[in-house]
């Protein structure tokens, strides 16, 4: 889901940097108000977890590869704004040091994976797990569903961004200047593979860790609840 350099035209790249700027600003402001100093190690673990889980490329036999983002888990544990910051850090490090995702596409990639994904996942988890005890199975299922749906919505946005390019930028002979595939190809491709395989990976990872933390340390699951009250 990491859009490389050269797939999005300048307008799209610029647009998403402009969109992300106020989101990053708001995230910093809100996290500054709510994040306690003792939670900083958890934020670091969140960023590191998201970074490394994205290295686990999962194959579709004979086809493409993809991966989980781990962002829904971070959002459930630390809130969507803190998750936005953690995932942004992971994505920027991936782009700058490892060329995974383009530097011109950092705005777009952050929009998809560090904004859409944690927010969709967080609120879906909230709604499904509403009023259920911290150690209930409903929480585990809610985490799984949130992971699955959020990764797919993020993939849908990525597909739309790819797919808009041939219409926005092409030569007079009709050759694309950037991503050569339109919406009719990009959306089914991105959404299809995530619905089929990668979404389940995000679901399982999110649900398993929540299940583990229920046994291990309920206070981590509750930390987010207190903040909101």
């Amino acid at each position: 889901m990491h859009i490389p350099d050269g797939y999005l035209g300048p307008a799209t790249c610029g647009f998403f940097y402009v969109v992300m700027l106020p989101i990053w600003t708001a995230a910093s402001r809100i996290v500054k108000k709510t994040l306690k100093a003792r939670q900083v190690p958890m934020l670091a673990i969140g960023a590191a977890f998201s970074f490394v889980i994205m290295m686990f490329n999962v194959p579709i036999p004979g086809g493409t590869t993809g991966h989980a983002v781990g962002g829904v888990l971070v959002a459930i544990l630390l809130g969507p704004w803190a998750a936005c910051i953690a995932i942004t850090v992971a994505l920027v490090v991936q782009a700058l040091l490892f060329g995974d995702g383009g530097i011109t596409a950092i705005g777009a990639n952050c929009f998809n994976m560090a904004f859409v994904l944690p927010f969709v996942g967080y609120y879906l988890y909230k709604v499904i797990s509403y009023n259920s005890p911290l150690n209930s199975n409903r929480r585990v299922i809610a985490a799984g569903i949130a992971g699955y749906v959020a990764l797919n919505i993020a993939a849908l946005f990525t597909g739309i961004e790819f797919g808009l390019q041939p219409g926005l930028h092409h030569t007079s002979t009709g050759q694309a200047l950037y991503c050569p595939y339109g919406l009719n190809v990009a959306i089914p491709a991105m959404l299809g593979e995530h619905l089929l395989v990668f979404g389940w990976v995000e679901a399982i990872v999110t649900a398993l860790v929540i299940k583990y933390l229920q046994k291990q340390d309920l206070s981590l699951l509750g930390a987010q609840e207190e903040e909101l009250i």
Binding site: A37, V40, A44, G99
Partner: protein, 110 residues
């Protein structure tokens, strides 16, 4: 043991297991992620390299491109795995460093 300690250990295990992200795609003959082909890969798919893509795709030369050391691209999977593990370690350390730095500005004392 504190939960955070266990989570750090979990991260270390993930670093060691990270080459699975190389071996599994290789074993199941899966190619690049959709939309993440190199310029030549695009040419194979659609018959030409989009002009803008050709220009911008080489804009940034990452120090550890694709989690592999420079010149190791053709090495066997075992070597690539080592590079992958080292990359995971470096990446995680940088992420942690950046977050702790941000944390100095963004967290409140409790």
């Amino acid at each position: 043991m504190k939960t955070t300690t266990k989570l750090w250990i979990g991260l270390a295990i993930l670093i060691i297991l990270s080459p699975l992200g190389l071996f599994l795609p290789e074993h199941f003959k899966a190619g690049d992620a959709w939309g993440e082909w190199g310029a030549e890969g695009v040419k194979e798919l659609v018959g030409y390299i989009p002009q803008g893509l050709e220009k911008i795709s080489s804009l940034w030369s990452a120090p550890i491109s694709d989690y592999a050391f420079k010149g190791w691209e053709e090495k066997p999977l075992v070597n690539l795995s080592i590079a992958y593990i080292v990359s995971a370690l470096i990446g995680i350390l940088v992420c942690i460093g950046v977050v702790f730095l941000l944390g100095k500005f963004l967290s409140r004392k409790d």
